[in-house]
Symmetry: C2
Amino acid sequence: MLSIVIIGTGNLAEHLLDAFLPKEALKVVQVVGRSQVSLAPFKRKVPTTTDFLNIADADLYLLAVSDDAIRDVSERLSHKDGLATHISGSVPLQEIQHKRRGVFYPVQSFTKGKPIDFKEVPICLEAESKTDLELLRLLAGSVSETIHEMHSEQRQYLHLAAVFANNFTNHLYHLAREICDGRNIPFDVLRPLIGETARKIQSMSPYDAQTGPARRQDRGTLEKHGSLLEEQNHKTMYKRLSESIQKTYAKEL
Amino acid sequence: MLSIVIIGTGNLAEHLLDAFLPKEALKVVQVVGRSQVSLAPFKRKVPTTTDFLNIADADLYLLAVSDDAIRDVSERLSHKDGLATHISGSVPLQEIQHKRRGVFYPVQSFTKGKPIDFKEVPICLEAESKTDLELLRLLAGSVSETIHEMHSEQRQYLHLAAVFANNFTNHLYHLAREICDGRNIPFDVLRPLIGETARKIQSMSPYDAQTGPARRQDRGTLEKHGSLLEEQNHKTMYKRLSESIQKTYAKEL
């Protein structure tokens, strides 16, 4: 049995706790938070504390805290033997101030109150010893079916790619919505298209899935679209993204 | 019973035929194509012809042809009484050279060989008379649960918004893949995230769903990301998209 202390009470801490609780190989012995209020959703599930001096002994400490807090929080665990593990995409392993350090990075976007099937969440692991890596593999393997070993530099680039695939993609949905709002078109009309665009990619490469006037190098339509758009920001984004697509497929002509 | 002739043999013509065939209220009497080869996938399902002089009489002619061909093909139907209907997002109704004209625009991305549940495809309709609109409503209502009436100008903007939501989004998937490829990270790691990003939007607004350093106006991370990216195009796209997000949320600070 692997004993775990979760430090942090955010959205991801909640999702992780809910993924760990039903697993017989795992035991969450404590959740540590800054205040009783932040711990409220955890109290009926596991023992909790706000006091770092009261922190329980465990095989693994999961630092579900903001990137900026990883260094400080790990220092406060320095007297503990358990593996100090952060869950961030962009923070190097070395940021952890502890004799045993690990990374457990779930590559997914977690929304408060929206359950996620953890089986399908890829988890990227990093540690400095074989024993610690085995521990992380045990943890990851009990909740997910996809585990990747990845060093800090690789993980940093994965996190950057995730910004394109998630943050920027979502912003394009927002720009699409602004265009719809400007003409009283309900955004609902686009929702099935958005769903299908992402589904298509589950089995195709984005390179092959690309369609539209920029891929066809259809300058007539590109110019017409550019002149139709009314907001300067929409025009600029349309131009830049179309140019990037045109460059990508320029060799095909 | 509504009788239909489909003109065109592309991907969308196939999807539409498959959606129409099982419906008792609809009868596809013919598919018209340029060559026997292009008609091959249709032949075992419905009567076909390559000869415009042999075109059948029908209540409705569905012009499943490229935008550029709509004018010509509609002219060649001028002796027919049925409603000449195109299926394009960006072409105005007036482009159709016929006494009765209509638009039937399914807002979805169709992939060859990948079945689509037409019930969930929003369909935008336009016609010049009440009778013709009723005819289009009958057709759309037999395959889809979501029907919108929309004039040409509105539809043009919807189509532009769809370019952002589909073409540009897919290109961001491709840029994410390039970043992964550069560091030997399998693109599969991002696929569940891409799926969830689109699923989230089915019940939330993209404005509320936005996360990441640009939304948090976290200049430190933005600068670090910018310097990590190696390709000029990745740097430019990162900068432009981050600026657009920062502007969107600037009022929140």
